[in-house]
Amino acid sequence: MRNRHRKAGDELRVSVTRSDAAAADEFTVPRIRPMMVLDALLAIQRTHDPAIGFRYSCRVGMCGTCTVRVDGRSVLACQTEIPERAEHIRIDPLAGLPVVRDLVVDTAPFWQAWKSITPYLVPDEDAAGMDATPAVIKPDSAERERIDPSLDCIGCAACFSSCGIASARRDFIGPAALNRAMVLVADSRDTAAAHRLDVVATDSGVDRCHYIYGCSAACPKGLDPAQAIRRLRKWRFDESR
């Protein structure tokens, strides 16, 4: 268990973007060390304003629910430690998604983009069903090495918010969906690769990426969606992938 202690008189100033212009947006909360961004939000809710709106669930970086922008950077509130010397932080809702209230956003555009690339494995008909032999990708195969590092997406939308194209609502499928598309296109068991490559080749697809690298820098799981986009760009023209 973490040893949390509070220094006497130590406080943190937190600015929160509120959807109600009349609501308080500056708070001072007691500083604990270590202190996560979610700790600060919970302290505000507990001691200042129970009506402040934000989401969280698992608190261990698995559910992707608590994503917010801290000083402009899209992060998981539960996993982001407030720097030791910080006296003030600013918390905003995710960029590029409609705000429902305060820090709560409607993630529908993110999931619509996700849906557009058929985000599940489409097996061959003969390989499906209870009697079929399970298809295996060997752990040491090149295919597995290509797929594995891109598998852990939790759908937190930090990459979407950090992308200068997707967050500006410029009709872009976005890094997370394209990363998922790359994983499935690379999977030899899947039969919908041609369809996915058609989707990623549209005007909303990979050519919208300007390589800002906000996605790869922001991903809390350490994935590299920009690399997935680079691969998809090549695979469009390479049948031997």
Partner: protein, 167 residues
């Protein structure tokens, strides 16, 4: 300054103001939409850290690429206009092009040179990201090279452009 020269200078000023306005629009829109570019101590602290945090520089490269692209296009339109004066009158063409020798225009040309160099070098970097499959760290390093090449070539060009008026 003659009337045609004054009109050309006004047109150049309008183009310069439009470029500045577009730059402000890009940055202000980015502050609302992108979430990254708050010019703050927090951002500077991030850029001071090695590794993935410095990838944030590429966001600013993206903005600068857009602004320099629009600037080059806007100036090109103006330049096509002033060069086409030759069709109407050789004297008028010479008269208007004397404005390019003024100090104010030379300062504008220096800005244009830096914009052109950055846009060109950064464009090559973006092609290299695709062709050479540059990842986050490598492309950030390539951006350092873009900035260095822009400053170096721009510095040399500045000396040539400003030398006649500086002495």
């Amino acid at each position: 300054m003659t009337v045609p020269q004054f009109l050309f200078f006004c047109a150049f000023s309008v183009v310069a103001l439009a470029i500045i306005a577009f730059g402000v629009l890009v940055v202000r829109t980015a502050q609302v939409d992108d979430g990254g570019p708050f010019v703050s101590r927090a951002l500077l602290a991030r850029l001071a850290k090695p590794g993935s945090e410095r990838a944030e520089l590429q966001r600013w490269a993206f903005y600068l690429h857009r602004i320099s692209g629009v600037a080059l296009f806007a100036f090109l339109c103006l330049h096509v206009g002033d060069v086409s004066l030759f069709v109407f009158s050789r004297e008028l063409y010479d008269e208007v092009h004397q404005v390019y020798g003024s100090t104010a225009m030379r300062i504008g040309e220096v800005g244009l040179l830096f914009g052109l160099l950055f846009h060109a070098f950064n464009g090559i970097r973006l092609v290299a990201v695709d062709v050479a499959d540059l990842g986050l760290v490598a492309s950030t390093r390539a951006l350092y090279g873009v900035v260095a090449a822009t400053v170096l070539c721009g510095g040399v060009g500045t000396v040539y452009i400003m030398a006649p008026v500086i002495g």
